[in-house]
Amino acid sequence: MSATIDQPVIEACDLSVGYKNRPVARHLNFSCHAGQFISLLGPNGAGKTTLLRTLSRHLPPQGGGVRVQGRSLESLSAMELARIMAVVLTDKIAPPLFTVFEFVALGRYPHTDYLGRLGTRDRVAVTSSLAAVHALDLANRPFADLSDGERQKVLMARALAQDPRVLLLDEPTIHLDLKHRVEVMAILRDLCRNKGITVIASLHDVDIAAKVSDRVALIRDGGIVAWDTPETALSRQAVTALYDFDKAEFNRHLGGIELRGAGDRGRAFVVGGMGSGALIYRMLTKKGFTIATGVVHENDLDCFVARSLGAECVAVGPMEPIDNAAVDRAKTLLAACDLVVDCGFPVGPVNEANLALMQAALERGATMLSLRDGLPPGLRVNKGDTPVLFTDAGHLIEALETFQFHRPLPVHGEEVQCIP
C-alpha cells in the first residue's frame, strides 16, 4: 500500500452516465484512492460497463463530472489521460501477425516517440508488464493463437505497459476458466498492493469480489446503492436485493452464494454438526429436497450453510451441550420428514444428544441413510430398522436418485447390495 489517501485518483461528483436520452445511472458520487481494488457489482444492464466507459471517456458524462488526479476529465488531453488510465475491454480483438511482445508494446503508445519506436525503457516496461501478469513465457507467441485466459493476461499486460495509475477492467474474468479466473484476480490484487495502481473492475462474481476488493460498488436501479468495504456492503440482504435473488442467498461468512433447490422431492432431516452436514445440505438441496436439520451449534459451518439454503435449523449456543428442549424441537421437525440422513458427525460430549435424536427416529421407523462405517456407539437398532450405510456421499446420491416416497423405503435390500 503506497497510498496517499489524501487526494483521490478518481472522483465523481453527481455523475450521470448513459446515452443521449437514455440515462443509465444518475447522481453518482464516489472517490477512488491509490492502490484500491474497486469492484463494480450489479445485475446486467445496471450500468457497470456504462460507468466504466464514462470514466475512460469513451462516453461523455450525461451530467456532473469526473476528476482524475484532481483535474477534470474533459480537460485532459488524450495522451495525458492515457498515461493515467488504461483499460481492458471485453471486445474480442485479434489483430493478425502480432507477437505477444509486439502487442503489449502497443501499450507503450503514450510514452514512445511519434513513430512508436521502442527504447530501452519501453522494452523494460513491456517485459515487466508481461512478468507482472506471469506471461513472460508467452512473449514470442503469436497473439492470435492465445487461449482466452492467456489473452486476458496479455491484455492486462498491454494495459500495464501504459504505466497507468488507474486500471479499468470490464468483466475481466468473463469467459475464463477457473484457473485463469483465480489467476487474473490474484494478479489484479497484486497490482494494487505492489504498484499502488487503482483497479476498477466490473465483476459478476460476488464471492470473488468480496474476497479481493477494497471497496465494492453496488449498482442498481440507476444509482450506486452502496460504496463501501465488501465486509460492510455485502450483507445477505444487500446482495439479495442487488440481484433480486429468489432461489439463492449470499452468505458473507461463507463468502459465497448458496443456491436453493426446488424443494419438491420431499423433506429430509439431516442430523449433522461439526461441519459434517454442509456438503449433505447442498447435495440434498440440489436434488430438490427440503431440509430440516438439528441439532447444530450456532458457530458451526453447518449452521451457516443450512440457514443460507433456507433449511429449518435447530441450533444451540456455541460450545453448549445440546439440551432437551432443542432435541424436542428437532423431533417435531423430524416427524414431518420423509427420510433422515446421518452425516457421520463425530460424537462428543456436546452433541451426544443427537444420538438420542437418531435413536428416536429409528424407533419411529423412519428411513435412515448414514454416512458411517458402522453404527455409532450407543445406538440400539431393532431388526428391520437398520440404517442404510454408505461409505461416501457419492453412493448416497445414487441411492437418493431412486428414492421413492413410501414408508418404509422399499428398495432397502437392493441398496444394501450396492454397497461395495
Partner: protein
Amino acid sequence: MTTSDLCLPDSRPLLLRRPPLVFSLLGLMVLAMLLANMAVGSIPFTPAEIWQALAEPPEASTAGFILWNIRIPRAIAAMFGGAYLAAAGLLLQIYFKNPIVGPYILGISSGATLMVSFVMLTSITVGWTLFTPFLSTLAAFAGAYGVMLIVLAIANRVKGGATLLIVGLMMGYLCGAVSAILTAFAEKDRIKGFVLWQLGSFSGFKWDEIALLLAIGGAILILLYLQSKPLNAFLLGEEYAASMGVDIRRFRLLILLCACALAGMVTSMAGPVAFIGMAVPHMARLSFGTSDNRILIPGACLMGGLVASLCDLIARTVMAPVELPLSAITAFFGAPIVIALLLQRKVKL
C-alpha cells in the same frame, strides 16, 4: 523488475530480420520492373538505343520520344498508381477492420465514373474548350473528391464503420445508376471512350499529371507514414486506440481523407484499377509477416508499385501491340490471391 538481462524479441541483428530482407528484395524487384517497363514495349529498341535516348532530349530520336513521352511516364504512373491504391486499400482495411475492403469501397470510383460519364456521354461540356485535354481527368477528380466529401461528412456523424461501409456502397449504386442512365441515352460513338475509361489504364500519362501524382501523393504518403503509430493502435479497435491516447475523431477523418485522396487521384488519372488496393495489402502483410504499419505502409506501397507495374507490363506486351485491359490483368492477379488467403484463413483483421 530486473529485466535488462531478459531475452527480448527482436534481438537478432538488424540485417537478418525479415522486414529489411523483404524490403531490399522488393526494392530490387521494383527497380528491375521500372527498367523492364522502360526497356520493353511494342516497339523494340536495343539497350544501346535506350541508353542513348535517355541521354538526349525527347525530340532527338524516335526512341527518345517514345521513352520520354510514353514509357517513362507510364512506368512512373503505374508504379505510383499501384503504390497509392495499395496504401489506400491498407488504410481502409484497417479502418473498417475488414479484409475484403478495397479503396473503391466508399464509392470513390463511382463518383469519378459519374462525372466522367457526364463529360464523355453528354454534350454539356462541348463549349469548354479551355479544359478540353484535361476535361475527363478534372471531371474524375471532381467526382472522386465530391463523393469523398459526402462520405467524410457522413463519417463525422455516424459511429460504426459498418454504417459507413453501407453508405459507401449506396453512393456507389447511386452514381452507377446515373451513369447507367446516361449510357442508355448516349450515342454509341461516345460510349466507346467511356467504356474504355471504366476499364482503367496507365496509358497516356502526361508529365503534368505525373508531377501532380508525385507531389500530392508523396506528401500524403509521408503524412501517412507519420501516422503509422496511431494506425497501429487502431488495429486494436477504436476504443483501445482512444484509451491509448489517439484522438479518434480527428484520426478517423484523417485516415479517410488520405485513403480517398490517394485513390481518387489515381482513379481520376487512370480510371478505376481493380484489385490492387484489395489484394496487395494482404500480400504485403504475409510477405513481411507483420501488421506493423511502420513496415506495412512502405511495404504495401512497394508491393503495390511492383504488382501494378507487372500487370501493366503484361497488359501492354503479351498481345502487343494490342493492349489488354489492365483491370482484367489485375483481377487475374488479385482475385485468386484474395480467395486463397481467405480460404486459408491466413488473413484476419
